[in-house]
Amino acid sequence: MPKNTQYVDYQHFLEQHIDSEKIVCYNKSIMERTGENMKAFLILEDGTVFEGIHIGADKQVISEIVFNTSMAGYLEVLTDPSYAGQAVCMTYPLIGNYGVCKEDMESRRIWPDAFIVRELSRTASNFRSDMTIQELLIQYDVPGIAGIDTRALTKILRQKGTMNGCITTDESYNLNELLPKLKAYTTGKVVEKVTCREKYIVKGSKSLSENGPISGSARYTGEKEMRPSLVKQLNGLGKKVALLDFGAKDNIARSLAQRGCDVTVYPAITPASEIIADAPDGIMLSNGPGDPKECTSIIAEIRKLYESDIPIFGICLGHQLMALATGADTFKMKYGHRGGNHPVKDLATGKVYISSQNHGYVVDMDKLDRDVATPAFVNVNDGTCEGLAYTGKNIFTVQYHPEACAGPQDSGYLFDRFIQMMEEK
């Protein structure tokens, strides 16, 4: 692999943090076969029980059950820190087909408490594949369940709303004992769990070639090549960006670094004063897990950043936190938006983009103080808030994921808009 500054730096950081459990190989031939598998159960707080096959680590978990409708990109979903505290059900039934391409991981480990699938492929078929999903789950001690009717589960969540559940291999579970425990579960202050422990730097690319080939120009050379990038110009060259990591997906830093920005990643609890003192050209508020209202101290710091006059771009949780910091409200959606097919309308241009989304909370547009912020993007399906423009400020935030991974890359232009904002400042 050719040298790529930002990537190597980060990779080095990650390697120190990767949990060093042994990879357990399982007997592939018995996966998804009859009779010989350990049973597993998914028990929902409404008392519904799904019986399936146990996959991944052998342990019982209680978590919030959510579904994701992406047809590809299960690894990006698994490694998205925003899923911390949740168990993810993939609505697409065939998972693991192309195995695990470790370079596609969006963070240092996998985060969901459990993984719920219809069928796990017994082969991992892709030239980049390093291991199977089963191996990955075991490596990170994450349990899961396969062979259940994921569509039926999705329908329940759609009708009744997101709920908690338990995954267990214990056939003698006691519903009466379990249900109160399920109801009591909350994701809690999960941002603290996922944020980086210390500040680190992702260096910006000095030339386009460091990013790997521009998509479309890749040529087969007989060796394992770098992933292609979409970036066609280094418009962020020399810009310093502070990225607040509330559970950031790697591609946020990478998207900026590939445009030339030097990105300093800060732990979530970093005081605003420290960031302002570092004099960044712009501040990026990342995505992250959980209820934004749990992040009281972070919200207070963001308020200070709001007042700093430094251009700010917020994504997902970052978007919600900025809203809360400036007096707006958020609420929990019935079952959220998780997938790669959500239409978002840019109110400035009227254009519709298909976006990658992962959120259970949303900013309440009805309670928005239009003097502070106005809606900039809305969801075409349900009209919910997908982005805000802050009045009189160099601040804009979006609910969805311009960094994609998994999902459509249509909104990458927002990073350019952010760079433009820094440029004009």
């Binding site: 590809a72 069928e119 329908k155 254009k351």
Partner: protein, 1065 residues
């Protein structure tokens, strides 16, 4: 953006006759588009030469012209109807090319007609090879290195430069006609020569061979505001090298990581945006299997076969949305009809796996090469939906109705490992069966992949199926194993074969253990939103979503499965009309079908759609859930008829003609008794099972005899035998598959063939009209030119036919439709066959007589009387028009296929010529079929001895028209003796220049070659006919057709054709 108020009268161009590469999908798209336009208050003027389509119904369009699709005709219609807009991208390549020609000539501008949807410039950029390459280069999207050549020499030189193998793609042809992969100079010369001629612009693209790469397609939509979405992506199991129409295709892609998926998606959106397409578009990619390198293969700026597949696979109605976009709407303004809640500006997400398998015509053309190339050969396709690939593949295989239902259906077990390795290099329709055997014999995935380039994931899935086969063979059959086998969609029949237990026992074991099919919904959104449209597929294991409904009486309408020669789009027309008629009568309608190209599988035709195989077990599962009040089988061709017995066993009442009466028409002995009772003569004959018996019957009757299996459509396996050897040959062909029913051997009578479709209510009959075939008996009715009203028979014959029809319909207790074929020998009428069901000619006769036969038949089935429906029973008065149905063939697509006409049907489609005058109708029909003479005024005539006499008159007529006649020795002598000027030309086996050189010289308009008997491939005649077809020269094998063509040529005038609006008949 709201609807453009200037669009009020829209002309829509259809795709013409069904040919390989352009099938029912355009009727589906066109119908959806027309309905969408009408919904928006537009007046629709429709032009399509194909009478079997639903789009040419007066319910679908306001003005319907079933006229030849030529620029001249379209111009005339534009002048007459004064449309303000033209929608050219619903009629496939044929429609698009016509729209382009009209635009390029400035005609549209002159007449104030706006091209809706994509602009002409966009089409040029997408379709012109060089323009497209330049554009891709400009936006940094890679294409394989290529060069557009206009002569063979340039092609050969470029191939030398980039290295063999190279792919050759002629510009502006459909289904990749004339293309191929060349591995050396001889091959490139051969393919280029043909491709250059077939290309509308005489250009062929020579490009780097990317065969073996993954073939991935994206269906993309874009509106005029520049909003882009992808409806679906699809992955071909067969890597690049096999036309996607002939490939097994899955949706969504299975082996792409998100990085690859999104890379290609972004590329597709960039391309459609740069092209400025408004509407639907298909982008095909080749992706290197072990890198991120990809190439854009091609872009189709219109609805296509793939877009029909994507629509059915996702529930997203591409053609409907494309039509709305053409009217000016943006994607976020168009509601998603499936959910009713979301909008067209989203991307469908699937929570199932879709498998498409092509229906290839090698069972029809047994001499043809089975090899699959970049030249499409499939006549149709089936689609299946399941929550696993294995299940999807198993369902799709049994949907084909080609004697396959599992991966052991083609037996390669006697091949050794080495033989299998060799066999794996052959790319044909049996490849997955060979892969399965290779897995069974222990050839490694890696090795199979290296040879076939099929992805490991697919190989593993095939392995899972072979492991299940073995597990069933090894036994014991536990409930768990059975559950897993059903999850993989092994039918009870297959399980029975592998376990040796009777199917009934398997079924009982299933019921005992609660192993039953559940139905899931196709909802575009993976259950994220509630869906309003009940569109179902089955799975084993899981919650059943099919809601039981009991508010109205329910009818099950069984569709006709994949489009194949002999059972085409006509039966979909009938199924759809019957569904509508039942709906109108207050029934809840349920369609079961597996063909993604058809109107019947559109989500809003029936109240419920089950996208399922049409086998007894699959239908029974639906019946168990729906408990319909009745099923109707007479509209779905042989596919539906074959299910009659099974439905009765399930206790489902058959609406209309009873099963035993259907049997009586097919069963020789029963039918003979009925003929005796009704005093209707037929050709003498007998039923046999073996060749010995057949020979005995034949000798008793005296040759020639007609040999055919019963219970088939399209005369499959039907032959005229003149000697014992031929009987042996034909019987061997028929008995390749075990026959459930006896084989019929009849005395061959030569005469005029006549045909009727009638509706019978049990008492009275309604005969809309009598059709007469131009070709004498011996040519399958589907391949004959059919004329309504019958022009050359006496009143006496017509009356006799009406009387016989009445007697037969009554004797068979027909309730609904009946189709009867007769022979007239002099004034004597014999019956050939009776089909108590809908037929191929129903749409055509309905349209030209204005009598809605299917609707009437449905009313009759429901108990109404013909008299109550406002019709006087009996033979209806003849219309004031001649309507001539002309068969259309796709012989050029099937290498090695015998083209001569006979009792077995070979045509893929048809077109209509309609006019007040017989000669003009005939002329229109020929033009519509693409036989537009003359160009060079040169004809080759070579006929068998028996035809020599008739050939003289034909020669004379051509001579009079100023043609130069070439003939081989004996034909030439005959003509010369009769005083016809003729040039003698050598046979192929003789020294050069021969008839072959003449054909290759491209100066010939027409070949008339009547074949000697038998299927001998090596004969001169076969080579002449194949060469003619492959060099694009029309070839007639029946003197009757030749005479008709002459009549048409003799009366052809330069003046404009008269136009007939079918909707106003």
């Amino acid at each position: 953006m709201p609807k453009n108020p200037n669009v009020k009268r829209v002309m829509v161009i259809g795709s013409g006759p069904i040919v390989i590469g352009q099938a029912a999908e355009f009727d589906y798209a066109g119908t959806q588009a027309c309905r969408s336009l009408k919904e928006e208050g537009c007046e629709v003027i429709l032009v399509n030469s194909n009478p079997a389509t639903i789009m040419t119904d007066k319910e679908i369009a306001d003005k319907v012209y079933i006229e030849p699709l030529t620029v001249d005709v379209l111009k005339q219609i534009i002048i007459k109807e004064k449309p303000d807009s033209l929608l050219p991208n619903m009629g496939g390549q044929a429609g698009l090319n016509l729209g382009m020609e009209l635009d390029e000539s400035g005609f549209l501008k002159e007449h104030g007609v706006t091209l809706l949807g994509t602009t002409a410039e966009t089409i040029r950029n997408a379709e012109g090879r060089q323009e497209f390459k330049d554009l891709m280069e400009r936006i940094g999207e890679p294409c394989a290195p290529s060069l557009l050549v206009e002569n063979i020499e340039d092609g050969v030189n470029f191939a030398k430069e980039i290295g063999y193998p190279v792919v050759l793609r002629p510009a502006y042809t459909l289904g990749g006609s004339g293309g191929g992969i060349a591995h050396n100079q001889a091959e490139i010369e051969d393919i280029l020569e043909k491709g250059l001629r077939l290309s509308r612009v005489g250009q062929v693209l020579v490009e780097r061979c990317i065969s073996g790469w993954k073939e991935i397609e994206y269906e993309v939509m874009r509106d005029s505001a520049g909003n882009c979405i992808t409806v679906c992506n699809m992955e071909n199991l067969d890597p690049v090298g096999v036309h996607t129409g002939d490939s097994i295709v899955v949706a969504p892609s299975q082996t792409l990581s998100d990085k690859e998926y999104q890379m290609l998606r972004t590329s597709a959106l960039n391309i459609i945006d740069e092209l400025g397409i408004t509407g639907g578009c298909n982008v095909q990619f080749a992706l290197h299997p072990t890198s991120f390198e990809y190439c854009v293969i091609e872009v189709n700026p219109r609805v296509s076969r793939s877009s029909a597949l994507a629509s059915k696979a996702t529930g997203y109605p591409i053609a409907k949305v494309a039509a709305k976009i053409a009217l000016g709407y943006t994607l976020d303004e168009i509601p998603n009809a499936i959910t009713g809640k979301t909008f067209a500006s989203f991307e469908p997400t699937l929570d199932y796996c879709v498998v498409k398998v092509p229906r290839l015509p090698f069972d029809k053309f047994i001499t043809a090469k089975r090899t699959l190339t970049t030249q499409m050969k499939a006549t149709g396709e089936v689609m299946s939906i399941c929550n696993s690939f294995e299940g999807g593949l198993m369902k799709a295989l049994r949907s084909l109705e080609q004697h396959v239902d599992c991966l052991r259906s083609y037996d390669f077990s006697d091949l050794t490992k080495d033989e299998l390795r060799k066999r794996l290099t052959v790319v044909d329709d049996q490849r997955i069966f060979v892969i399965a055997e290779a897995i069974r014999k222990g050839i490694s995935y890696d090795e199979i992949h290296e040879i076939t380039m099929v992805d490991h994931w697919f190989i593993d899935k095939i392995a899972i199926l072979t492991e299940m086969e073995q597990a069933l063979i090894d036994g014991p059959l536990t409930a768990e194993l059975l559950r897993e086998a059903k999850r993989l969609e092994f039918t009870d029949d297959i399980i029975s074969r592998f376990t040796g237990k009777p199917a009934s026992e398997i079924k009982a074991m299933r019921m005992e253990n609660g192993i039953t099919a559940a139905y899931k919904m196709v909802d575009t959104c993976a259950a994220e939103f509630e869906a309003a449209t009940p569109y179902y597929y089955s799975v084993y294991g899981g919650e059943n979503e099919a809601k039981e409904t009991h508010d109205r009486k329910k009818v099950l309408v069984l569709g006709s499965g994949p489009i194949r020669i002999g059972q085409g789009i006509e039966f979909d027309f009938c199924s759809v009309h019957a569904t509508w008629a039942f709906s109108k009568a207050g029934f809840e309608t349920i369609i079961v079908n597996n063909n993604p190209e058809t109107v019947s599988t559109d989500f809003d035709i029936a109240d419920k759609l089950y996208f399922e195989p049409l086998t007894p077990e699959d239908v029974e599962n639906i019946v168990n859930i729906e408990k319909p009040d009745g099923a109707v089988v007479q509209f779905g061709g042989q596919t539906a008829i074959k299910l009659t017995e099974a439905l009765m066993e399930m206790g489902v009442p058959i609406l209309g003609t009873k099963a035993e009466d259907v049997d009586a028409a097919e069963d020789r002995e029963l039918f003979d008794r009925i003929l005796q009772e009704t005093e209707i003569p037929r050709a003498a004959g007998g039923t046999v099972f073996t060749a010995e018996e057949a020979k005995e019957v034949a000798n008793r009757l005296g040759y020639p005899v007609l040999v055919r299996p019963s219970y088939v459509l399209g005369g499959q396996g039907m032959q005229i035998a003149i000697c014992d050897e031929e009987i042996e040959e034909f019987m061997a062909v028929i008995n390749r598959y075990a026959q459930d029913h006896p084989i019929l051997v009849d005395k061959y009578l030569q005469g005029k063939e006549l045909e009727v479709d009638a509706v019978c209510d049990g008492t009275d009959i309604l005969i809309p009209g009598i059709m007469e075939h131009i070709e004498r008996t011996g040519v399958h009715s589907g391949d004959s030119i059919s004329v309504y009203p019958a022009p050359t028979v006496s009143e006496h014959i017509k009356e006799t036919i009406a009387e016989y029809t009445r007697r037969l319909a009554k004797a068979l207790h027909v309730k609904g439709l009946i189709n009867i074929q007769f022979i007239a020998v002099g004034e004597e009428i014999y019956v050939i066959e009776v089909n108590p069901r809908s037929s191929r000619t129903v749409p055509y006769i309905s349209k030209v007589t204005g009598i809605p036969i299917v609707d009437l038949a449905t009313e009759v089935i429901l108990g109404k009387k013909i008299r109550d429906l406002g019709y006087e029973p009996g033979l209806q008065p003849e219309a004031g028009y001649y309507a001539i149905k002309m068969p259309v063939f796709s012989f050029e697509k099937i290498r090695g296929a015998e083209i001569s006409l006979g009792p077995e049907m070979k045509s893929t489609g048809e077109c209509l010529g309609i006019s007040k005058s017989f000669n003009e109708a005939l002329y229109k029909a020929f033009i519509g079929a693409g036989i537009d003479l003359p160009k060079h005024k040169q004809v080759i005539i070579t006929v068998k001895d028996a035809d020599k006499g008739e050939a003289i008159e034909i020669g004379r007529r051509f001579e009079k028209l100023g043609y130069t006649i070439y003939a081989t020795r004996s034909t030439a002598n005959t003509l010369k003796e009769a005083g016809v000027k003729v040039r003698k030309v050598n046979k192929i086996s003789q020294e050069s220049p021969t008839v072959m050189d003449l054909l290759l010289g491209h100066k010939i308009d027409l070949v008339i070659d009547t074949p000697t008997q038998g299927r001998d491939k090596s004969r001169d005649g076969f080579l002449i006919r194949r060469t003619a077809i492959e060099t694009g020269v029309h070839c007639l094998t029946s003197l009757d057709t030749a005479n008709a063509l002459l009549t048409s040529l003799e009366h052809a005038k330069d003046e404009a054709l008269t136009l007939v609006d079918i909707a106003s008949l």
